[in-house]
Amino acid sequence: MINSSPLLRMEGVSKRYGGVRALEKASLEIWPGRIHCILGENGAGKSTLIKLIAGVVAPDEGHILLDGKAVSFASPAAANEAGIVCIFQELSLIPDLSVADNIMISDPPTRAGMIDRKQQRICAEEALAQAGAEDIHPLALVKDLPLSRRQMVEIAKALARKPRILILDEATSALTAADVTKIFAVLKRLRSDGMALLYISHRMHEIAELADECTVFRNGQKIETYKAGSKTNTEVVELMIGREYKNVFPPKPVKKSDTKLPTLQIINLSWTDRLRDISLSVQRGEIIGLGGLDGQGQRDLLLALFGVLRGCSGQVLIDGAAVKINSPTMAKSENIGMALIPEDRKTEGLMLPMSVRDNLSFAALHRISKGGIVDSAREQKLTQEMINLLAIKTANVDLAVGSLSGGNQQKVVIAKWLMNKPRIILLNDPTRGIDVGTKQELYVLLRKLADEGAAIIFYSTDYDELIGCCDRVLVLYDGKVTRELVGAEITERVLIASALNIDMEKVVHA
């Protein structure tokens, strides 16, 4: 099949969220009959790109041309109408409806205003057959299907809309190997039928198998488009990195010998299928990084340590003594002294309408009260100390914390825990969505806390931070620690390679 013009073309498309550039003057061509893979680190602008094409968000500038004509989609439904269908990582199925109901949900066949069930079932069967999932009964309820089958239904649902451009965003992450093989066969068939496919995945071997062409994004910018197979893994990884280093991190101390008892030690911690036999230990004064792709169990590990998850197995030792932490209340108690800086400050870290003071003292109420009665003078003193320590910018402590800037809100989240004088500090991606200046202040603060004797576990989706801040980095993949990097071993190239679980030798020596 020979086509002389691309099906969809993006020209100089930009998108900003507040002050953050998510995508900057990106251009891209999608051709019929080809599978186009998009590569990039977390936050490189891949999801924004997809959202723009699928009509979820509108571009700030630039054009999107479909068949050479400029289009602007008001909604995902409008994009569907134009033949662009997207399969997201998260499932969009309604569990209590049947497979057929789900597949035809946006436009069920009707007769006299009622849904024509017979026709619907036939349509659904066709779509399932097209997706290579004839074994799924169209009248089965979605909730009775295992996860991998649901993903197949999701794909059938997308195909039922007869797309010209099909976008798959990490669509295979929930699938078994057998299903992936099936899906790949389907995708290749769709390609030979002349459909344009946009494929996003972190799995290098999938890309190697499927892609006709690849585009690398980094920091919201398109870096390069190349023909599949024309670059080695090493070259690809280097394209994905390629940032200049800024000297924003405080110097790391010279490594001391590990003769002391670790402050925190975990042995074979497991939780459902999300965490598998994780063992690690953290010394006083040490900052341990958690690396890997987003969603490989790092968050679950921190929550498990903090006593939030039920049904964990394995052992946790504090100063060598086994403890069973079963609630945050216990985790923060005097003899454990743990603090968790949660991932989402708006829903987990702060009570936005409440004042800065109420938020600051909330986790340390037991320190500023006697017999359940709050000592206002002491509260005032301690909150002021924290505001000074972290240089939180607020006109006064009675302001609602929601009125502060993102960076200052994050400082409040951290300050509220420092008020407890924790010995073990768990950080769940604490620098997301805050400005560079505040980030730098946080790095310095973390090192200072470590120097004062805290044991710190630091999960970050930003590889630079792991390299700049951490004494050791544990890389997680699929709920397991796959690699431990110490000192000079922590480089972006090795981090990315281990995160993608590619063979190290190939990357280093290729």
């Binding site: 903090f306 829903t347 009570m351 409440m354 109420d358 359940g372 402590v397």
Partner: protein, 324 residues
Amino acid sequence: MNAILDSQIFRLLRRFDPAVTTAFGCILLLLVVGGTYSSNFLSPEYLLQQLKVASFLGIIATGMMMIILLGQIDLSVPWVVTVGAMMSCAVVGHGTVGAILAIPFGILCGVAIGLVNGFGVAYLRIPSMIITLATNAVAQGLMVVYTGGFSPQDSASPAMRYLATGFVIPGLPNSVVCWAIVGALAVFLLTRTTFGRAIYGIGNRERAAYLSGINTRRIVMTAFGISGGLAALGGVLLAGYASKAAQSMGDAYLLPAIAAVVLGGTSILGGRGSYLGTVAGVMLITLLQSILSVMQMPEFGRQIIYGVVIIAMLLLYGREKLQR
């Protein structure tokens, strides 16, 4: 220095919560309307009588406010009020010991039902709307079994009567004094204690409160216990006021209690509201009821007006949320 001054000005401004101001404005308006309708309306005797009537609702609404601050609701109020009244009167029948134990026993029964509600909400994760409605039905059933469906013959103890109708402070009915004490305790609890902070915290964002190491379940359960106890105290006082308990004597308090709390500016979604607002809401509701009955508005008319007033207030808050 400047910061401290700023802070004081800010607190002063916060005291003028628009909802509270509106509520007090409405109270004045009602007084003016009532005054033009009948000159009796502004006499001290009449106003004191209103305050006395308001005190029963005030005590019940105090408990309701804590639950609403949590972002929950307590629909078991009607029969917890009745249980408090009936159980205290029932104990009176058992001699001197009974007479002494009457008031604490009535309250304790209410606390017990409240704790069941709290356990269901906090530990079993049943929506409060469901569990409180269920315990209300169970309490009703138990009371019907106990009384056989008729008005119970037991009468209130002298202490109960004194608490509801006597005068410790000349000119000020004891029930009003009770409300003042309950109110003062509630203000203290909500503004000065870790328990109060936790209530506001949970109401704003339960997950954040939990991750801050607050024992959210215990707080929720305790709050429901307090709410049950206060509703039963309201029932005890009502029994003292009427000298005896009666079937479904608490039915008239559910909607007014919720309305009073919401009219006073407490967010129905939880996390925001001041006790002063609830006081204003209680007075507003009481005056509204009084004027409607002076104007000989039939019962159905009153119900319609309450409902409409609550909807209007909720619309007002909904709009405020959208602006943010």
